[in-house]
């Protein structure tokens, strides 16, 4: 029975926003752009809250790394039912280069500090699509991992995880403590209701610095250039199947 669950929540550009690349090609425009909680993180929070409602865990702690604004994201997790939040303060250049390696070091350190026995994360973030943080965190802690989870069940001191893999579904059993990453079909996240938003204001968010956790934020990656995907070219209409085969041969496709 996991007493404390850590849920990582990432503040990302809202999924509905049209992304624009900065004119200097160093990144995407984030100023004044709508941000919200990464959809897979919402699913992770929902799963943690459901475990608490089933009385399988005692406390859900939401964690986010970044500047002041990530507190909004933590508040959303609190409004969904998390008990308290931890804001790991990272800003400026450190935030620009913050990636899975740094975040997983932070989460591993927090898991030890908070004596968490379960970490639930989204499988990936919709901005960088890395799909690495869960796996790295598990490795750093030397914990088992159940990634791409579409179902999670507690069975005594073990976790049964059904994973979505290319070939279909894989069922595994892992010992606790463990790391789980949430896939799309794990659950449908609840809305934050207005009364819960108001209650969330009274829940605590503690501020922590990466240095306090002994984490080095230096990045091993350097972003050279960011470009938009190539413009979609117009297609060509053909009259017959022969024409189609002819054109494909011309283009060297067959």
């Amino acid at each position: 029975m996991a007493a404390r669950v850590l849920v990582g929540v990432k503040r990302v550009i809202d999924y509905a926003v049209k992304i624009r690349v900065k004119p200097d090609n160093t990144g995407v425009v984030t100023d004044g752009v709508k941000h919200s909680m990464n959809p897979f993180c919402e699913i992770a929070v929902e799963e943690a809250v459901r475990l608490k409602e089933k009385k399988l865990v005692k406390e859900v702690v939401a964690v986010s790394c970044g500047p002041q604004q990530v507190q909004e994201t933590i508040r959303t997790a609190l409004a969904m039912g998390a008990d308290r939040g931890i804001h790991v303060e990272v800003s400026g250049k450190d935030y620009d280069s913050l990636g899975p390696l740094q975040v997983s070091k932070i989460l591993a350190a927090l898991a030890k500090k908070e004596e968490a026995s379960l970490i639930i994360l989204g499988k990936q973030a919709i901005d960088d699509d890395c799909n690495q943080t869960g796996q790295m965190t598990a490795a750093l802690l030397d914990w088992p991992q159940g990634t791409f989870a579409s179902e999670v069940a507690v069975e005594g001191d073990k976790l049964k995880v059904i994973r979505e893999v290319d070939g279909g579904l894989e069922t595994i059993k892992i010992n606790l403590p463990a790391v789980v990453t949430a896939d799309l079909r794990l659950n449908t996240p609840r809305y934050a209701t207005l009364p819960n938003i108001m209650k969330a204001k009274k829940k605590k968010i503690t501020n922590v610095k990466p240095g306090d956790l002994g984490v080095d934020l230096t990045s091993r990656l350097e972003v050279l250039r960011v470009d938009e995907p190539p413009q979609r070219q117009a297609g060509v209409k053909v009259e017959t199947v022969e024409d189609l085969v002819g054109k494909l041969k011309e283009a060297g496709r067959i």
Binding site: E72, R75, T76, A79, Y191, A192, T193, L194, P195, N196, I197, M198, K201
Partner: protein
């Protein structure tokens, strides 16, 4: 002398905050998400069928988007007028039919909130937060709309009860309400002034003799339930009188200062939707070799639509802010409601125009907006009544 005719001086500068608070932003987000994901996809079908959108109302209730005016002591959120208006605008953007059904609850509850005693508040407001119930504001009659003093429904005191007889009309939620706020005449003397002749009651809808009529098929906001309600020898215990005999008119009118800002917000939500739909279309449709948005005839229309929407929003926010700050906001509430109702109609009509032939067609979203907009110039005080109120308030400043 330079002695001023200028009465336009502002003594209280509305410090509308430069940014919404985090909580307001979150509330708005929930309302917007609900409107976008749950109201908009089903609104056209509810409009076609006229079916009461109870599933949507239930969801709104579950999310805490309804009954926001109810004080915390009775299980409500006790939201300020400003916060309620933010939510209302987002819901109305989705569908004003759905939003009106929800708003009618606020109108029905307001007399109880402002004039009910502890027992009445606990009983009638409390139950609204325990289950998704509806209520209704029962004042208008077939023969009396704007002229509330012309209400003829009679309430005769008999022992510990009042016997009600009369006919009400155009009651929103008339067939769905769990209880009504009813205005009836208790003093039969025609010389008795309106300020003393009427009494406000709370009536349980299942009281024998209460007969809702058929659902009326209206031009717009068609999924909202509007009916006539007949009262035949309905017996109400005297405990259900609000404040006291003769206090009804003031209560009925007093409710409006609180409910007109959200109605204005609803009209603004509709106008914003019309503006967004028209703008999106103008950036897709081409004519004479260019996007129609690149033709000044269209871009100037959009500019004027935008002006109106922004001003309507500021107007309702001001009226909400005034009442939240503890000041009498009648002047601002009327201005907001009158203006927002008028521009909602103009903007929706312009949106249809921008869509051209497509705009007239039911497969495009704007003809519904034009039909839905009309009622904003009629209910909650007609456009003409608002002008009466505004001119009276305005002239009063000069007469002082």
């Amino acid at each position: 002398a330079a002695a001023s005719v200028h009465r336009g001086q502002v003594t209280h500068f509305p410090c509308l905050p430069s940014e919404l608070t985090d909580q307001q932003k979150e509330f708005k987000e929930v309302a917007r998400k609900f409107a976008q994901e749950e109201i908009i996809p089903v609104a056209p079908e509810y409009d076609r069928s006229g079916e009461y959108p109870f599933p949507l109302i239930r969801r709104a209730w579950e999310l805490g988007l309804m009954n926001s005016h109810i004080p915390e002591d009775y299980g409500g959120l006790g939201l300020s007028s400003f916060d309620s208006c933010l939510i209302t605008e987002e819901l109305a953007y989705g569908c004003t039919g759905v939003q009106t059904a929800i708003e009618a609850n606020s109108l029905g509850q307001m007399p109880v909130i402002i004039a009910g005693n502890e027992a009445q508040k606990k009983k009638y407001l409390g139950r609204m937060t325990e289950e998704p119930l509806m209520c209704a504001y029962c004042v208008t009659e077939p023969g009396a709309g704007s002229d509330v003093a012309g209400v003829r429904t009679r309430a005769v005191k008999k022992g510990d009860e009042y016997i009600i007889n009369g006919q009400k009309m155009w009651i929103t939620n008339g067939g769905k309400a769990n209880w009504y706020f009813l205005l009836a005449r208790t003093d039969p003397d025609p010389k008795c002034p309106a300020s003393r002749a009427f009494t406000g009651f709370v009536i349980e809808a299942d009281t024998p003799g209460v007969q809702p009529g058929k659902k009326e098929m209206n031009m717009g906001q068609r999924c909202s339930d509007t009916r006539g309600v007949t009262f035949e020898d309905v017996r109400i215990p005297k405990e259900n009188v609000l404040l006291g005999e003769g206090a009804g008119f003031k209560i009925a009118m007093g409710a409006f200062d609180k409910t007109r800002p959200p109605v204005a917000a609803g009209a603004t939500g509709l106008a914003q939707r019309a503006l967004d739909e028209a703008t999106k279309y103008a950036l897709e449709r081409k004519t004479f070799g260019r996007l129609i948005a690149d033709h000044q005839a269209i871009s100037f229309m959009l500019a004027e639509m935008a002006m109106k929407v922004e001003l309507a929003r500021l107007a309702y926010q001001r009226s909400a802010w005034e009442v939240d700050d503890g000041r009498r906001n009648t002047y601002y509430a009327s201005i907001a409601k009158a203006y927002a109702g008028d521009i909602a109609n103009q903007v929706a009509t312009d949106a249809v125009q921008i869509f051209g032939g497509n705009g007239f067609n039911s497969e495009y979203p704007v003809e519904k907006l034009m039909r839905d907009a009309k009622i904003y110039q009629i209910y909650e005080g007609t456009a003409q009544i608002q002008r009466l109120i505004i001119s009276r308030e305005h002239l009063a400043k000069y007469k002082r």
